[in-house]
Assembly symmetry: C2
Homo-oligomer: 84 residues x 2
Amino acid sequence: MDLTTIIGFIGGTLTTISFLPQVIKTWKTRSTHDFSFIMVFLLCTGIFIWIIYGFLIHSLPVILANMVSFILIFIILLFKLKYK
Amino acid sequence: MDLTTIIGFIGGTLTTISFLPQVIKTWKTRSTHDFSFIMVFLLCTGIFIWIIYGFLIHSLPVILANMVSFILIFIILLFKLKYK
């Protein structure tokens, strides 16, 4: 694996795992009041398109990072819809 | 511009503009209680590394989208530090 791909994976890992403490916090507090619904919705949609883009440019960091991010953001979206 | 780059720009535009309604909402409410500090911090750091990766793979959508995202997330980070 070359340095570029490693840097991509570091960026991808950081942005992806960043959503995990948020899922845990929201799971505990059941509070999503401060979140903008539009942000969570657009983020979900945008990340889905990033996954497609990752496949098109054959970038494994873009594909994997966005797949995991999508799952986590989708959980936050469900929280936002359930706990308003 | 080819289709791949257009798709990259659509994904980039969506994930980037998603943070704008959040900045506006947080600006109005001055409330960041529901946000995980670790999320906002890791997101900032990760997006910064994505910018570097974008330069390395010569992907304009990755560079531009993450640059704007970085600015917006950084504003949210400042809000989070100021209004706890």
